[in-house]
């Protein structure tokens, strides 16, 4: 099943003709709707849930296969990397919002903090670049901790405005700050680990691989790490605490949970993940500018979360693929793509408000049925 999905994705990514792309998209939608109609999807979902580890393994193989197929295609690999890193970032949001219920409408800002960290550190210091990634995460978490006090004190819409204000503040700050390049942004030096420069094409015998392949591997490792972390977190008592917190703060408090402590934990872990993803993204793109980290981008992150189904890492990945790849491939309707994208989200919210792949009940043992 996953193999079919992979082949479909590869076909979609490699398709150049617009008509072919539209046909492929329509066919994909039709197949999914038909499967849902005939009740195939539930069985499939149950099978996936039973063999989650195997699914993870196959997904990695599928990603590798897709990357191998496009070994010399810069553009497609960049797209795939974007999907990987956005997935990591939305996983971070997922910890904040899906588990602990802490709203964050400044996802892109924390992503941007990570990217700018890598820009500044790579330019002015000779810190090893793996540490730069970690530093991106730490700084994003640190900046998030500035917001902790208002976020903890407020709730619902009032909490939303704190992060929205931060998102606007951050973008304006970047635009007017000359040290960070102002509206023009900054160059970011490529990644280099142990003398291995990531910005050169890889030559193996006669085959030359796109330099994005390096980043792809790091991005994939990051995503796998993030998924394992988030999954472990969800299955542990921490995840249980966070769920309790989200579902009913008062009740959780009555049972002795320290609300502030767990909200802080979730918020910082989430920001850390977003920051790391941002740091790597800065290096991949080679360039950071304020316009890439606006409030609208934060909204895209949040809508990925809702589209995929809050709390389900697999749903997030599927939703990220849809949100990142579809607009890029639909070049004919380039002008209209935001319009169509917004209409699509409205349709999903109206007709499937729980998201494409809703979060299943927590399972402590794969395959276990009560």
């Amino acid at each position: 099943m996953l193999a079919i999905a992979t082949v479909y994705l590869i076909a979609l990514l490699s398709a150049e003709k617009q008509i072919l792309i539209i046909a492929l998209l329509l066919a994909g939608i039709a197949v999914v709707i038909a499967a849902a109609w005939f009740g195939v999807l539930e069985g499939l979902g149950a099978t996936f849930a039973d063999h989650e580890n195997a699914l993870g393994g196959w997904a990695i193989i599928a990603a590798l296969a897709a990357a191998a197929y496009f070994y010399d295609n810069h553009f497609v690999l960049l797209l795939v990397i974007t999907v990987l890193l956005y997935s990591v970032a939305t996983l971070g949001l997922n910890v904040q919002f899906g588990y602990a219920g802490v709203l964050n409408f400044a996802g892109a800002s924390f992503f941007g903090i990570g990217a700018y960290t890598s820009a500044v550190l790579n330019t002015y210091t000779s810190l090893p670049h793996v540490l730069v990634l970690a530093a991106g995460g730490f700084l994003a978490a640190l900046a998030g901790s500035l917001l902790l006090f208002p976020v903890l004190r407020t709730r619902g819409h009032y909490a939303a405005v704190v992060t929205i204000a931060f998102a606007l503040l951050f973008k304006t700050f970047l635009e007017v700050n000359d040290v960070l390049g102002g509206p023009q942004g900054m160059q970011v030096k490529g990644m280099r680990i142990l003398g291995w420069s990531f910005n050169d094409n890889i030559e193996i015998g006669k085959i030359s691989l796109s330099f994005y392949m390096n980043y792809f591997v790091v991005g994939l490792l990051l995503l796998v790490g993030a998924i394992i972390l988030v999954r472990r977190l969800e299955r542990s008592w921490i995840g249980l605490n966070l769920d309790a917190l989200r579902l009913d703060e008062t009740a959780a408090n009555c049972f002795g949970l320290d609300i502030a402590r767990w909200k802080i934990t979730a918020f910082l872990i989430g920001n850390f993940l977003i920051g790391i993803a941002g740091a790597l993204f800065g290096m991949v793109g080679g360039f950071v500018a304020p316009n890439n980290y606006t409030f609208a981008d934060s909204l895209i992150l949040v809508s990925i979360l809702l589209l995929g189904g809050i709390g389900n890492p697999w749903g997030l990945i599927v939703a990220t693929i849809i949100v990142v790849v579809v607009p890029e491939k639909l070049q004919t309707i380039q002008e209209y793509r935001f319009l169509l994208y917004a209409l699509m989200v409205i349709a999903v919210l109206l007709f499937r408000p729980q998201g494409l792949l809703p979060r299943p009940v927590r399972r402590y043992f794969p395959g276990w049925r009560p």
Binding site: R153, Y158, V161, A342
Partner: protein, 306 residues
Amino acid sequence: MDAGLFAQYVMNGLMLGMMYALVAVGFTLFFGVLDVIKFSHGDVLTVGAFTALAAYAGLRALGINSEGFELAVMLVLATLAMAFLGMAIARYLVMPLRSAPALNTLLITLMLGTVLRESVRLFYPQGANPKPFPALLPRASLDIGEFNLRLDNILMLTAGVLVIVGLQYLLNRTKLGLAIRAVAQDEETARTMGINFTAIVLITFAIGSGLAAFAGVMNGLYYNEINFGIGLYLGVIGFSAAIIGGLGSIYGAILGGFLFAGLQTVGTVLLPFASAYKDVFAFAVVIAIMAWRPTGLIQEKISERV
């Protein structure tokens, strides 16, 4: 500081504050009756401003050149059109999602805002470029020292005050206002008292969206230029203003609007070397206010139900 310059700053602040307050009042009205945040509010404002511009172009094409008449037609058309748009949004997007989580409503209206914004950009003739907005008010001005008192600003401020006073009268002195307040206070009780809930919600959305159109025309007249992005900016500021004032309170929204404009102005004056940071300053203060008063300056009465 020179008194004339000071007066100039105050005047600018008042104009901005009036626009922000009008937008914020819309947010707070919607929140009052339905407990939802309608984020497409700012983009309704954009559409309103562009409707007015289209009406102006239409009138010019018909060969009518009386400025007062044109302005009146533009205002009426824009306000009515946006009132209908607001009702349609409430009826077909917001009401069906009443049982869904609040975030879904927020997101669906945000996306609707994107649809409206993109539609203006794509389908209005050359909508992607900033459009000049005609200066239809009398251009007379009075120089007092360094202070340039413009008649059109005074007219706009007066109109804004009149609109707010009128809204106040509507809400506190009429039967309709009573019904709106009843629905805001307790939906179920209001229903049992024979109030048509759906109709009241739709009327409230019409009023709020009409106000947004008014603010949009005012924005166009003040800057003599509109573009498809004004709504996003004004919408977010209006939302922040409604929040720092305290959602659900009309006075809070007005206070919040003027406070935000005041913060921006103070930011410009206090940081003359870096007046570009005025928005950074204003939003930082908003965050600080939220930390200090988590439910806004005029606090909503909330009780924890267990």
